[in-house]
């Protein structure tokens, strides 16, 4: 199991994403990327969907990437990395290549939940050997905080503003992790930038499987969430503590909730520190919407515990 020391040592040994990129101060993305890449010891090829990470790390003629890296378009990172993986297999079969290389895709929630969903689904179904990491900051941050299907209910975004008629995003977010799990791929997990050891453990477990692996990692965007620049970690941590963003994994169909908060922290605690939810705390209607929000969080959490119970009990029965 990787710990902070081993990850730090690998960062010393080989800097796979170098400093000098232009991601915002306080952005959670580089922490996620470095943790993922430093957990994997094999050589890697990285594909990146269009988005903040891509734009901020590859401005020609510079590059922040010290590993082979490709960006093609917004909606096709899964197809792109599976093309790389297919070439690896073809070249290996033809005797032109003989070494172990791993394949990683990074994309934001817009590139994964929305425009890239078809490409991702196709790649998962075809069974390519790759790890897909959705760095989820819950809106189209690169283009100016427009709503995506990962944006939480009620959040203010530039295409779901808080207006007099419609206060923020009316719809609940899509449960993408469940959608990916429904592809019956070997390893699917949710992680958060607030727990990098948990993330590293999940990367390590993911890479122990052949076939498609998927991580949905919550990554604070201080600009879009309207939080303090030095609070990316505590804000994401509160998302986990309030059960808004459960840390769990589905390995070979078996659910495991990796962290169960001991006490019930109302989701309000997480919402009230973010400017995008400020409007909820100003009106009686906002209070009602808070209750609906909490109900949705509770329902999803209970569903998750049931899934864990059902799939783990299956184990016990067999034993």
């Amino acid at each position: 199991m990787p710990n902070i020391k081993t990850l730090a040592a690998r960062q010393e040994k080989q800097v796979r994403l170098t400093p000098g990129h232009s991601l915002c101060a306080g952005c959670a993305e580089p922490m996620v990327v470095r943790t993922v890449l430093n957990t994997i010891e094999d050589p890697v090829v990285v594909a990146n969907a269009t988005g903040c990470l891509e734009v901020a790390t590859s401005r020609y003629p510079g590059t922040a990437w010290n590993v082979p890296w490709i960006h093609s378009a917004f909606e096709n990172v899964a197809a792109t990395i599976t093309g790389v993986e297919a070439a690896y297999k073809g070249l290996t079969r033809m005797g032109k290549l003989n070494r172990r290389i791993r394949f990683i895709a990074f994309a934001g929630d817009g590139g994964t939940y929305d425009i890239g969903l078809q490409s991702l689904s196709g790649a998962l179904e075809r069974g390519h050997d790759f790890l897909y990491v959705c760095i989820n900051n819950e809106a189209y941050m690169n283009t100016g905080v427009q709503r995506s299907s990962a944006t939480p209910m009620c959040a203010s975004a530039t295409t779901s503003p808080v207006g007099e008629e419609i206060p923020g995003k009316p719809q609940d977010r899509k449960d993408l992790t469940a959608i990916v799990a429904a592809h019956h791929v070997p390893f699917v997990a949710q992680a958060s930038v607030s727990n990098l050891i948990d993330l590293a453990n999940k990367v390590e477990r993911a890479m122990s499987y052949d076939g498609p692996k998927f991580l949905n990692v919550l990554a604070t965007c201080p600009l879009g969430w309207r939080t303090q620049r030095d609070t990316a970690i505590p804000v994401a941590k509160l998302a986990v503590e309030t059960r808004y963003w459960p840390l769990y994994e589905v390995a070979e169909g078996r659910y495991k909730v990796n962290y169960k908060p001991k006490k019930h922290v109302p989701v309000e605690e997480w919402l009230k520190i973010q400017g995008r939810f400020r409007h909820l705390f100003k009106t009686p209607e906002g209070k009602q919407r808070l209750e609906a929000f909490q109900a949705a969080v509770d329902r999803h959490w209970e569903d998750l515990l049931k899934k864990e119970k059902w799939t783990q009990e299956g184990d016990a029965d067999e034993a």
């Binding site: 093309g83 790389v84 070439a87």
Partner: protein, 387 residues
């Protein structure tokens, strides 16, 4: 050895002989048979290619981009809407200078939806930065698939190449084809050494960076240089093909009975076969008529075309697609070819064969007959259309 086969089978045979590292393909009428033949080769162990049966043409071209950047030799095939879906990524493939070879079974673009031939798909991709070759027969589709592979991978060119073959007319009709022996085809195509492959992990390269106004323009200019390298390479590879096979394809286009011709057609694809029959018949009757059939459409060989048609009095340019609000795309290229020349034929633009409409020898005979009385610059004329 001469065999009887469809255009699809001929292309699939060329692909089998090339044996690319990756084929990523999605079914669409009238291209699907290429995917089926290739899957059959893979599933029966006749090739070692990694087949990627993608969930859309968008992903087909995206996987081709990933595979080619990785360092693989990569092929695909599509038609019509499939190409439309690919076009976004085809621009990216060209900008990355990836030598992806693609058969395009030409089919009309929707709407209304139609599965039959015209060239609207090829024209849609006209400015995408890929080399485009048109073919008249299954034999040409086979030969040019091999030529395209070598052209695409030529250092200095390093661009995607589209081999067009008319949907159904060529893809599904059975013709006599003489494929090369496997070892001859393989020797002609040769081995491929990629530039800066992603899989060379010791030498990490960044593909598809973000370029602002300070560099974008220069990067696009570098793509022009790739296109500029095509014509010379095209002729050289044709010559090499002739030396290897005895088959003569010399030039960017086929001039057919153009010497001393006073009237001529310019056409692309299978309709050239019909036009040749008409030219022969009119020549037998003593009329000075000829034909120019394009092979290399992009880059367009302006000077050579103008030279070949310099002595012709009237030229009818046949476009098998509309360019709404403008002349047909081939016509505008012809017009550009002559714009700085003192002597130029009178040009007239005909639109024909949309959505698979048949074009008959009688109709082409009529085009030759009325050509001399049609005043140039009279807009579009239509062949075989009910007004």
């Amino acid at each position: 050895m001469r065999k009887v086969m469809t255009g699809h089978k001929a292309v699939a045979e060329a692909m089998r002989q090339i044996e690319p590292d990756v084929v990523a393909v999605y079914p669409i009428t009238p291209q699907s048979e290429i995917a089926e033949y290739y899957a059959d080769y893979v599933h029966n162990g006749r090739v070692r290619t990694e087949l990627v049966p993608v969930e859309s043409e968008h992903s087909a071209m995206s996987a081709c981009v990933g595979a080619a950047a990785a360092g693989g030799r990569v092929m695909t095939a599509t038609a019509s809407q499939g190409l439309a879906l690919m076009v976004e990524i085809l621009y990216i493939a060209s900008s990355m200078r990836l030598p992806i070879v693609m058969a395009l079974a030409n089919r009309a673009l929707s709407g209304p939806i139609n599965i039959h031939c015209d060239h609207s798909d090829a024209y849609l991709a006209r400015d995408a930065g890929a080399v485009q070759i048109f073919t008249e027969s299954a034999q040409e589709a086979y030969d040019y698939t091999l030529i395209a592979q070598r052209l695409a991978e030529r250092k200095g060119v390093s661009l995607p190449v589209i081999v067009n073959l008319d949907g159904f007319t060529l893809t599904h009709s059975v013709q006599v084809v003489e494929p090369l022996k496997d070892e001859v085809a393989k020797r002609f195509v040769g081995t491929y050494t990629p530039n800066y492959p992603l899989l060379d992990v010791e030498h990490p390269s960044t593909w598809g960076p973000f370029a602002m106004p300070d560099y974008y323009f220069e990067l696009k200019r570098a793509q022009v240089a790739g296109m500029e390298a095509v014509p010379e390479a095209f002729l050289e590879i044709q010559k090499a093909y002739e030396e290897e096979t005895g088959r003569k394809y010399q030039g960017y286009f086929e001039p057919y009975r153009l010497e001393d011709a006073e009237r001529a057609l310019v056409v692309m694809g299978s309709t050239a076969g019909t036009a040749k029959v008409v030219v022969d018949k009119l020549r037998d009757a003593g009329e000075k008529v000829g034909l120019l059939k394009m092979w290399m459409y992009r880059p367009f060989p302006y000077a050579a075309v103008a030279e070949a048609l310099a002595g012709v009095k009237q030229v009818a340019v046949l476009d098998r697609a509309l360019s709404f609000g403008a002349y047909g795309a081939l016509y505008t290229d012809l017009a550009a070819a002559f714009v700085h020349r003192d002597q130029a034929p009178a040009l007239v633009n005909y639109i024909y064969g949309l959505g698979g409409r048949d074009t008959t020898p009688e109709q082409l005979t009529q085009v030759f007959e009325e050509m001399s009385s049609v005043k140039p610059d009279q807009g579009l004329h239509y062949i075989g259309l009910r007004e």
